[in-house]
């Protein structure tokens, strides 16, 4: 590592369709493999969508009819983990980073993602923790952040989703992550909606802190070639 340490770029994408974001990630992963770009972190929200991970079980989609009625799409994706819901008000972070070149192990990576959220939540006075043998971040017995990661040549894709102001009703249509446990949000715990832009800014800071990355924020038009 040089004296400048680990330098990465981050983009604040706003609200993005799931597949659009996935295609972008796929292109960024290829570019990262070819050393055309440096480590890149995307911060965004999704339009309402239910996604199934690699270890997803169909029976965890509890109400397929109602999902259809609500026009929520179900997408099968290549991240690890089971079924989850994404929607506006939920902050998503997708790091496209080379773990090997930073000496980050697989469990170290997951730990750091969780730690970022735990630190972020502590800024709001929310005490969150890990639950043994279950990934993600929990407040009491309820899950506030879910994660699912894909690695290709040690380059990461997918990441973590934190419920800030998320409408939690769609989670009733599924068995989130197959755990049988309930999901919560920052707004539900604090009893008020939060400014998601502020939470995102703080999340970028927490990411930089926990990963030890010097993040430079770039305008999204820099992603046009991808």
């Amino acid at each position: 590592m040089n004296s400048c340490g680990w330098v990465g770029v981050a983009f604040r994408m706003g609200i993005l369709d799931y597949e659009e974001a996935l295609n972008l990630q796929n292109r960024l992963v290829e570019a990262r493999k070819n050393e055309e770009i440096s480590d890149t972190v995307l911060f965004l929200q999704h339009l309402p969508v239910i996604t199934m991970g690699k270890s997803g079980k169909l029976q965890n989609i509890l109400a397929p009819k109602r999902i259809e009625e609500k026009n929520i799409r179900v997408i099968y994706t290549d991240r690890g983990g089971d079924v989850t819901y994404h929607g506006p008000g939920q902050l998503v972070v997708y790091p496209i980073i080379n773990l090997r070149s930073q000496g980050i192990t697989l469990s170290g990576y997951v730990w750091k993602l969780e730690e970022m959220v735990i630190q972020l939540l502590s800024c709001f006075g929310i005490e969150a923790s890990r639950v043994e043998k279950m990934r993600g971040v929990w407040v009491g017995k309820e899950k506030i952040a879910a994660l699912g990661v894909h690695l290709s040549r040690w380059i990461s894709k997918h990441g973590l989703a934190l419920n800030v102001n998320t409408n939690l009703d769609p989670f009733d249509l599924i068995n989130p992550c197959g755990t049988g446990r309930r999901v919560t949000s920052m707004a539900k715990i604090l009893g008020r909606e939060l400014c998601i832009d502020n939470v995102e800014s703080l999340m970028i800071k927490c990411f930089a802190e926990v990963f030890g990355m010097n993040i430079s924020l770039e305008p999204t038009n820099r992603l046009k070639p991808f």
């Binding site: 690890g80 697989l106 469990s107 997951v110 990661v149 690695l151």
Partner: protein, 80 residues
């Protein structure tokens, strides 16, 4: 030279993984560094690359099989 590909221990806590899919079939050529198969542990799916170049002679597990770390998942006839 015959090269046995084992289920890698991708992480200190990993004991077994779900074999998600094969990128190569028996009889196909593979280059060092090309992905051979994909493994899923609880929340992370990982592509595993071949450490050698050669021909995939035998594949011992199919998609969705749960494989212990260290088990031989494939055999490659490696180029000398």
């Amino acid at each position: 030279m015959v090269y046995e590909v084992q289920m890698p221990k991708l992480d200190i806590t990993m004991e077994k993984g779900i074999l998600v899919k094969w990128f190569k079939k028996e009889g196909e050529k593979i280059n060092k560094g090309e992905p051979l198969f994909e493994v899923s542990t609880e929340k992370v799916s990982t592509e595993v690359e071949s450490e050698v170049s050669g021909m995939v002679m035998k594949i011992n597990f199919s998609a969705d099989d749960i494989v212990n770390v260290g088990e031989v998942v494939a055999v490659i006839e490696a180029e000398a």
